[in-house]
């Protein structure tokens, strides 16, 4: 998630893809899919490439102690730059990456990920049904879900007044929510507009896309523009705007700072995202990486992780162990009737272009 389709990053990816193609003919690359060479008897190390503020340092400490291992954490901020880095040789540097669901298929196609050897990861059985064999990675061949969440509206409650929980707050010109911000992320915003119209977030129907694009373009004029990541949340907290489209985890942290603020996924439903643990194709410490994935999927560790992040755990066994307040919080764990209305953003392959074009159009209008 946290999708920032920067043309730059894309250009980088494109450039690297080209170079990767030309490279492939020359020397055969047997290490890609076959079992990677087992790390020699060297001190145990693990290189993790992950989003910032996404991993409890205590968990790392516990893992280091349990396996007498040295874990190195490096940070990236969007899927695109992570992929670019992997394509430029990073596949042989990092042992763990955390791609969002919508880039997994593309990464597999680019040969960036090593298949999980499930016999080494017994805790995979702890995953919740929704994350076993998801559409973006059938049979969990390459990934195990790490955290998941929703995209919704973060706003301020007027005392004694219920908020009408609809995407119409943004898309209906008659709704006057006050100053509001949209999220600077194409699939989330298009997903919201499509859901408001009652369509699938993964539609490629030109007519439906056009309707959603028009809604977005019109909403942009009434809004204060787009803001990425936590920016929207911060502005609601600072009372600079009345409402903002944000990720649920950011909103939950915000409500802790200011209980008058409030988060909801509109009743029409919306986008659900999953970040995943995966192993790059030439990871130098593949076995340790598998131990690490297994460790994260441990029920207790999974609960600790979600308590730290305040994102939902995909771990069925951990679900019961998470902090009781979080476990009951509908902003983190949407009720079943809402779950049914949430959709994964899928990688649309060629058709991604449609979304990119719409986004360019909306942004430049």
């Amino acid at each position: 998630m946290r999708h920032a389709l920067k043309s730059l990053a894309l250009a980088v990816v494109a450039a690297l893809a080209l170079s990767a193609c030309s490279k492939q003919e020359a020397p055969p690359a047997p290490a890609a899919a076959a079992p990677a060479p087992v790390a020699a008897k060297e001190p145990c190390t693990l290189n993790v490439f992950i989003w910032s503020e996404y991993m409890d340092p205590e968990i790392i400490k516990a893992f280091e102690q349990k396996y007498s291992c040295k874990v190195t954490i490096d940070l990236y901020e969007d899927n695109e730059s992570m992929i670019a880095k992997l394509q430029g040789g990073g596949t042989s540097l990092y042992d763990i990456v955390v791609p969002g669901n919508y880039v997994v298929a593309a990464m597999v196609k680019l040969d960036l990920l090593a298949p999980l050897r499930k016999e080494n990861i017994p805790n995979l059985k702890n995953l919740d049904d929704k994350f076993v064999s998801p559409a973006y990675d059938r049979d969990n061949k390459y990934t195990a879900a790490y955290q998941w969440g929703t995209v919704g509206i973060y706003t301020r409650k007027k005392p004694g007044q219920a908020v009408d929980e609809t995407w119409g707050l943004l898309f209906d010109p008659k709704a006057k929510p006050g100053a509001f911000l949209m999220m600077d992320s194409i699939r989330e915003m298009m997903g919201s507009a499509l859901k408001y119209k009652g369509y699938s977030v993964n539609t490629t129907d030109q007519k439906q896309l056009k309707e959603a694009a028009d809604l977005l373009a019109a909403a942009k004029k009434r809004s204060q523009g787009f803001e990425g990541g936590v920016g929207g949340k911060n502005k609601v907290l600072a009372k600079a705007v009345k409402a903002a489209v944000v990720y649920n985890g950011d909103a939950v942290k915000g409500t802790k700072d200011d209980p008058e603020t409030y988060y909801f996924v509109p009743r029409e439903g919306g986008v659900i995202w999953v970040d995943n643990l995966a192993i790059p194709s030439k990871a130098p410490h593949r076995e340790t990486a598998e131990k690490f994935i297994d460790f994260i999927l441990d029920p207790k560790v999974g609960a600790q992780l979600s308590d730290f992040n305040q994102y939902a755990t995909p771990n069925k066994a951990a679900r019961a162990l998470v902090n009781a307040d979080d476990g009951k919080n509908p902003a983190i764990y949407p009720p079943p009737e809402m779950m049914a209305k949430l959709e994964f953003v899928e990688d649309l392959g060629e058709q991604n272009r449609l979304f990119d074009e719409i986004w360019t159009m909306v942004k430049s209008k």
Partner: protein, 267 residues
């Protein structure tokens, strides 16, 4: 000297506010006790204390300084040589070299970063070394720093009276002696300025660093950029304040030291 008229006072005053207000905000917010940014919630020293415990951030700060120091040292040496050579010697292809020198100056960072990344991965593929990490990062930084040093040094050389060097030669100094005892002291301010420029560029750089770094060699710009979208934690404000303080000391100190140096003078 003429006195400043009041409209000039006002505009320059506003300009200074515009330039420095963001820095003041960072420093002020490093004392804000609110965990997730946003509104002011009271004064605290807490973030400076947590900074001392935070291994990642300290490691990043150390990496930044090591990278800046090493690459500045190398690029100042090489850049000074280049600037000197380009202004004092005639050789075939000189124009071409001067032209090449400007490429890292004008080329967009992202293009340079990707080019480096691709170059390293090719070298690794064919020769089996240059694993991404501190070494590759230093090499990349040196590459873009050299021209800046060379340009500063060369412009100083152009303004220098060549007859001084010729006089040294006439008095029997070798080329090396002339350079060390006559030319270098004269261009030293430019060498220092070029070196400082190179160091600043290295400290600032995010794009090239991100693409050429390896596990465990993150620098502060990488760390800070990676934190922007998830919300800057207050300890980054604290860290930035410390760096601002160090930079201020680093700029003021040489200025103070320069005066007595002038009196000691002619060694």
């Amino acid at each position: 000297m003429r006195k400043l008229s009041w409209p000039l006072w006002l505009t320059s005053g506003l300009l200074y506010v515009f330039l420095y207000a963001p820095i003041v905000v960072v420093i002020v917010y490093s004392f804000n006790s609110a965990r997730h940014g946003g509104p002011w919630r009271g004064f605290t020293w807490q973030w400076y204390a947590t900074l001392l415990d935070n291994q990642d951030k300290l490691a990043a700060a150390r990496n930044t300084l090591v990278l800046g120091g090493l690459s500045t040292l190398v690029s100042t040496l090489l850049g000074t040589g280049l600037g000197y050579g380009l202004s004092r010697y005639q050789f075939p292809g000189k124009r071409f070299f001067s032209f090449l020198m400007y490429i890292p100056v004008v080329i967009p960072d992202i293009v340079m970063a990707v080019a480096m990344l691709m170059f390293y991965s090719q070298v690794r593929q064919w020769l089996g070394f240059l694993e991404l990490g501190m070494t590759t990062m230093v090499l990349a930084h040196v590459t873009f720093q050299i021209p800046f040093v060379a340009i500063v040094v060369r412009s100083r050389m152009v303004g220098m009276d060549q007859s001084i060097e010729e006089a040294a030669h006439d008095l029997g100094a070798t080329s090396l002696q002339t350079f060390l005892h006559v030319t270098l002291p004269l261009i030293l301010p430019a060498v220092v300025a070029g070196g400082m420029l190179a160091f600043t560029l290295s400290l600032d750089d995010f794009v090239v660093s991100f693409f050429t770094t390896g596990p465990g060699a993150s620098t502060l710009p990488i760390l800070i950029y990676a934190s922007v979208k998830r919300g800057i934690t207050p300890d980054i404000n604290a860290l930035s304040s410390v760096i601002i303080l160090i930079s201020v000391i680093g700029t003021v100190l040489p200025m103070l030291l320069q005066r007595p140096a002038k009196h000691r003078g002619d060694t």
